[in-house]
Amino acid sequence: MPTPTDPAATPIIEFRDVEKRFGDNVVLKNLDFHVNRGERVTLIGPSGSGKTTILRLVMTLEEATDGLILIDGDPLTHRIVDGRRVRLSNREIKRTRTRIGMVFQQFNLFPNMTVIQNITESPIHVLGQSKAEATRRARDLLHQVGLDDKADAHPSSLSGGQQQRVAIARALAMDPEILLLDEVTSALDPEIVGEVLGILRRIAETTDITMLIVTHEMQFARDVSDRVLMFDGGSIVEDADPDTMFTAPAHERTRKFLKAVLGEGQIGTR
């Protein structure tokens, strides 16, 4: 088993028969899967297969239309009471939400704040850190992402790659147990993708944060992941360790997808 933690322990993320529909459009159906604490799981699959929706459900940006999502055994947005599915109070949802961080494709930095204000906002106002404490930590994180000199810059003066590094620092400043990475390099120039992936690799190596990743960077997925889930049409087609997934996928659908993404003759090579 590639999972780094005891499989008998409570999974940090668990989907139980989750359904998500937008009107008549069913995006996820009868979805069951779990992520163990400390695991790095990458979701791959064609666009529209529901990968990003999964991250958005975990971040509570969307709510499932049926089924349950548990975070460390606790219900995220809904629980079952007397056989009925009941929404939690906003306060309860919020308590779980602080354990989860997300980095977006479009960075979503606050343009009216400086870099350091972006990073310290929630540590101060949500976690209750002192300004000095939050600032010290923010500067440390900026150092880690190689942006020591940009603390007082406004996001608009930064390149896309720099903005995404700030967004990573901002997410980490909340000390999340779960970090969601939603196509974080898709909006970047190709030559900048490497620097952002390098930082994420280092975070993966030096921390034990659980990561749920949606990416089109297959090499990165292969290097960082403990497990890869192949999605199609709102369901998991294949669940395997990265070597198996990328060298000897069991399903025809996976082979076709990987061939399309990686190009002919890529599967099976390293």
């Binding site: 940006l61 939400r97 961080g101 977006f104 606050f110 009216n112 906002e121 608009s156």
Partner: protein, 220 residues
């Protein structure tokens, strides 16, 4: 006698200066500044109530805002003046102007709030920000950037609407000019003077707005 006088009399012009200026400073300017302040604050209150308050509050506010916007300010001034006889006319004027323009401002704020990208809201959720911080630290500052020019333009509109105050007997600048004209049988100089003061005050204000707009702007 009357028709033998010159069309323009500089002496009358300068004699009209003190009363007209007094009307400008003590009423026109005061009503505009306080009225704009009320409109700016109440406009945001309406916009936030419509957006955040539960029914029926948000519905009532929406209806109220539409009602005020669709009735003339003169009617509102007269209504408030006769409905609240114990309140002095000047206060009535300030409050009515403030409320009237707040309904226009609320539309501007609404547009500014709607213009805040979805990703910004999502980031506030991902960072577990409270509703209060979301609005105070992210949404309102970004919405305000878009509303400054409109707020300035409404301030200038309000400024130019102040002569309506004469329907409730408040002696603002134009009313003062008319009284001067009546007392001296010379209207042109005093009214011209009032017009010049309107122009002199409006122009620098519009320049100031443009400058503020520039300072608040940040490229994306």
């Amino acid at each position: 006698m009357q028709d033998q006088r010159d069309l323009w009399d500089w002496e009358m012009f300068f004699r009209a200066l003190p009363p007209v200026l007094e009307g400008f400073l003590t009423v026109t300017l005061l009503v505009t500044v306080l009225g704009t302040a009320i409109a700016a604050v109440l406009g945001l209150v309406w916009a936030m109530l419509i957006r955040l308050a539960p029914q029926p509050v948000s519905g009532i506010v929406k209806w109220f805002v539409a009602f005020i916007r669709m009735t003339p300010i003169v009617v509102q001034l007269l209504f408030a003046y006769y409905a609240f006889l114990m309140v002095d006319a000047m206060t009535i004027g300030i409050v009515v102007f403030g409320i009237h323009y707040s309904t226009y401002m609320s539309e501007v704020y609404r547009a500014g709030i709607d213009a805040v990208p979805k990703g910004q809201w999502e980031a506030t959720t991902a960072l577990s920000m409270s509703t209060r911080r979301t609005w105070a630290a992210v949404v309102i500052p970004q919405a305000l950037r878009a509303t400054v020019p409109a707020l300035g333009n409404y301030a200038i509109s309000m400024f130019k609407d102040t002569p309506f105050l004469l329907v409730i007997g408040v002696v603002e600048m134009v009313n003062a000019a008319q009284i001067f004209g009546g007392n001296n049988f010379r209207y042109v100089e005093a009214i011209t003077l009032a017009g010049i003061i309107f122009l002199l005050a409006s122009y620098p204000t519009s320049v100031l707005i443009r400058r503020m707009e520039k300072r608040l702007a940040y490229a994306n």
